[in-house]
Amino acid sequence: MNTTNIILIPLLPLLSFILLGLGGKRLFGDKAGWIASLAMLISFVLACGVAMNYFGDHSADAYVGKVVFSFPWLPFGNGLKINMGALVDPITSLMLFVVTFISLMVHIFSLAYMKGEERFHIYYAFLGLFTFSMLGLVISSNLFQIYIFWELVGVSSFLLIGFYYQKNAALAAAKKAFIVTRFADLGFLIGILVLSAEANTLDFQQLMINLSSPEYTSAAGEFMGISVLSWGLALVFIGAAGKSAMFPLHIWLPDAMEGPTPVSALIHAATMVVAGVFLVARLYPLYSIAEVGVQSLISSIGAFTAIFAALIACTQTDIKRVLAYSTVSQIGFMMFSLGIMSEDHLGYTASMFHLFTHAIFKALLFLAAGVIIHYVHSNEMQDMGGLAKKMPVTHIVFLLACLAIAGIPPFAGFFSKEEILLNAWNNNRPIFFIALLTSGLTAFYMFRLYFSIFWNKPHHEQGHGKKEGSWFELIPLMILGVGTVLAGFVPFGEYVSADGKPHHAPIDLQFSLGPVGIALLGILLAAWMYFKASSKPEKTAAGFGVFYKAAKHKFYIDEIWLGFTKGVLFNLIGRPAAWFDRNVIDTLVKGAGSATQSAAEGIKGMQSGKVQQYGLYFLFGIIIIVSVFLFTQGGR
């Protein structure tokens, strides 16, 4: 295991950030993208090396986590300290590969896609910052370290969503993304405090040993009837839910589509949004010993988010928003899979597997959507249609990705989704049925998208002979397309499992019939409605009535949040606080001042300069003093 390599993996993107951020335009001009892509390529190669090295080492019975490097970054006085380190274990290796791979694809894709942007170098600088933060997050060996990078990915996401900074929508979306995740991070932070105080350490490995030790579990405290450990984990889960856009904190993700499309592919589809899943997976050993309530919290929120987002996705018309809701839904799958704990920990492997395959095909979908959007200059579905012939490469890879996400064998999504469903079937039937329904919906909305874009009505408006896209765009699409086809065949369970031991995931063909069947049903329905332009969609929508309208308006969650922030935070707390400060406290202060002043005004008259008045005071004074002496001690 080469320590330097592991440190270099995140540092190269950081270097590219610093170089491009400080002197980008002057030093490199239009070559900025190449510099960043080169750094990313080296990172990717190193990451592959690390992963192969790690998984290639079969000497031990199981894959164990190794802290390959660690130094105290910030000690606290009480024995706790933030160590900056690198923990290499199966999911780290996996994530290193995924992040560097997707990031590399996005870097290459952007060379063409973002060409001619005024802030081209800044874009690459931010991509570098994001990639650095995300890589730092996945190699974290310390709970606080993960929080640090967690915040950094949040801020790079803010910067990238707001990349088109002159658009008000971008500003609003960037703020919303940051603030909503920040709100969730509050839970994470308090969770960290709880866990660290319980375990007296922040390092993951020691944390898990300490908190699962019998000495601790026997002496663990309670708060409001729930063990402190469960509190801590539930709070950490809030953070994870925020970053991974779980209901009801999902509202930021669809808006985040205001950012450049490659950014959506990288951050809001493949990597950052799964950080929550990664975090829960990182703490999986603790969640598995926590109270059942915490586990079912995770699984029920995940499952609800999955179906909820899928329903919304069926009604959206902006293709990036459809994809965004689809992302939310798929992350819901990963999340509930983690939450359904069982003896064999199949959910863990399945979730990670799905994370892996989803990253590839969702990045593909977004990048393809980017190509399409550039081609038709619109995000709206009704401006598209009949593009199949104009954009053959995009068409094929898009189809592959849609099949993958719908769970049609032998594409990537099939295998991972199958494991998730199997785990749910074995351990939690209600969630299984929800997930099954969601699978059908997924197939439906993805093919709705596919048919609307590529078939439906003939494309005639513009761009005869227009190029589909530059090779810099198409090559990453093809690579990802290949990945979509092949990723499912990775014997994933061999490498990634909760306990590090190889895990043979059974593919039960009989069991698969149901999910695949329902997915096919969804596809057929979509084909029936959208293959040819017709009025069927409108009629169906009308048939659903209020329900359709609610889904179209995202079930009004945004409005509820807006009402909460505007109504409660601003009007109920902020405004009174500001008012109170200016009018009550300041009045008290001013009152002290003006009381002094008026007292002075009052006694100013005594200093009239009139001798007679002074004489009067003098006389009174004498009288009073003499009387005091006379009647207090005058008795003698």
Binding site: N168, L171, A174, G574
Partner: protein, 493 residues
């Protein structure tokens, strides 16, 4: 290293400014400020060198000169890690403040003289080990501020200057009463103003009980202790740019340092007695300041109110009385000093170009002044506690330290404090986002980016923020022995 150099250089600089022609004032001030910075950095290195060679004596470079022997006080100076950290903060802010005021035209000789005088007061304050001398330097650092605001200020400056001066003087009065009360409550043979001696001999609980609140509240006024914080918004918003930087960057730290050194260190039992009240007030200040900030429309008011919130962390840390929390309080002082000075410097630059400080009248300025606005983003991110910048380190240390005490009260206070990070994010992003992003407003057309002196001013402060944010361990190593001495006072009792 003789500490007197560090107070001597600003004094000599001030003298030179007075004597030299006005057109050289800024050059002399800058030279003096840079010399001070060099001295302070040199002090840091010789300090760490002494520590490395095993000098474990709590105070280094200690010196004691007779001053007023008949009144029982002497010029007793010495530094520990906390002082060195605070002095470095001062040095950074002073250089940045001089640079920002480079184009000051109105009464520039006086302006730079007072700037230097403030530095003199602050350095002296951070190294004095005698209560009376401490008080003397505190006053030296306060009075020029009144002049800053009333001469070079803007807006409702007379009102603000009066308010600031009166409230700070009120605080000083409490401190003086406390100090004198302490002195005369002691038995005659052990009467002294020397803090080291006082800490050694200890002060009776009955005395601590009534002196502690006086001294703590007195210094608390300086560091915006709720409800004595209302000078902060008015004072900061009326002061000239460099004045706001000093006010928020250094003066508010005088209060925090004083609370730590003169109140908590000398009177540990008093601190225990009142810790819960301090925590309650600090928590209120944190969350209430944050919410009040959310509704402000003027950039300077936003930063001033957020200073109330951030200084709440200093007091929260002190109130928690654990080593980590107090370390966090010191971190927060340094961090907030740098960050808020940077913020005010930038607000001044933006104002100079757009002639407005109202957030609603700005927008899209990133396009025309990328350097300034990028720095503003950094200041904003530091304020909302982004890792890699100093604010994060400070806040997290306070939180971890606060969480240590395992009861519901302390933990509730911590959670309330932590809640402010969300509110902070809201107001910072609202303000900075509005200023930087969106369509460019008309007032931003054709303005230029930062000039060389502004660039350097910003770079110096950002360098401080980054060094602290990226490598907090060295600051920890510097500060923690000093904090340990304070905490041992509790343990010893």
């Amino acid at each position: 290293m003789n500490l007197l150099w560090i107070v001597g250089v600003p004094l000599l600089t001030g003298l030179a400014i007075v004597l030299a022609p006005a057109r050289h004032a800024r050059m002399i001030a800058l030279g003096g400020a840079i010399l001070q910075m060099a001295l302070v950095i040199g002090l840091y290195f010789s300090f760490t060198h002494e520590r490395e060679v095993g000098n474990v004596f709590p105070l280094l470079f200690e010196k004691q000169y007779q001053w007023f022997p008949s009144l029982g006080f002497s010029l007793h100076i010495g530094v520990d890690g906390i002082s060195v950290a605070m002095m470095m903060l001062t040095a950074f802010v002073v250089v940045a403040g001089v640079l920002v005021s480079w184009k000051m035209e109105h009464m520039k000789k006086e302006f730079f003289f007072f700037l230097t005088l403030l530095a003199f007061g602050a350095y002296g304050f951070f190294m004095s080990m005698d209560l009376m001398v401490l008080f003397f330097f505190l006053e030296v650092a306060v009075i020029p501020k009144y002049l800053f605001i009333s001469i070079w200020g803007s807006g409702n400056k007379t009102y603000s200057a009066n308010k600031l001066a009166l409230m700070l003087m009120g605080g000083s009065a409490l401190i003086l009463v406390g100090i004198l009360g302490l002195y005369f409550s002691l038995p005659p043979e052990s009467r002294t103003f020397d803090m080291v001696k006082l800490a050694e001999t200890g002060i009776g609980f009955e005395i601590q009980r009534w002196v502690f609140p006086l001294v703590f509240v007195g210094f608390g006024v300086f560091t915006a202790l709720f409800p004595f914080h209302t000078w902060v918004p008015d004072g900061h918003s009326s002061a000239p740019t460099a004045g706001s930087m000093f006010l928020a960057g250094i003066s508010m730290k005088l209060g925090g340092y004083g609370c730590l050194r003169a109140a908590t260190y000398l009177m540990p039992e008093g601190a225990h007695e009142y810790a819960n009240i301090i925590i309650v007030l600090a928590s209120i200040a944190i969350i209430y300041g944050a919410f009040a900030t959310m509704m402000q429309k003027d950039l300077k008011y936003i930063n001033a109110y957020s200073s109330i919130s951030h200084c709440g962390f200093v007091l929260l840390g002190i109130g928690m009385l654990t080593k980590t929390a107090i370390t966090g309080a010191v971190f927060q002082m340094v961090s907030h000093g740098l960050m808020t000075a940077l913020f005010f410097a930038i607000i001044g630059m933006v104002y100079e170009r757009t002639h407005t400080r109202l957030v609603a009248q700005m927008g899209g300025l990133l396009k025309v002044m990328p350097f300034i606005i990028s720095a503003m983003f950094i200041a904003g991110f530091c304020s909302l506690g982004l890792p890699g910048l100093s604010g994060f380190v400070a806040e997290m240390t306070v939180f971890v330290g606060s969480w240590e005490t395992k009861d519901v009260f302390h933990r509730t206070a911590t959670v309330i404090g932590a809640m402010s990070i969300v509110v902070t994010a809201v107001y910072i992003l609202r303000a900075v986002g509005q200023v930087a992003m969106g369509p460019l407003v008309a007032s931003g057309e054709g303005v230029d980016d930062a000039r060389w002196y502004e660039r350097w001013s910003v770079i110096i402060l950002i360098a401080g923020i980054l060094v602290m944010g990226l490598a907090p361990f060295w600051l920890y190593e510097l500060v923690s022995p000093g904090v340990e001495i304070i905490v041992n006072q509790f343990a010893g009792k």
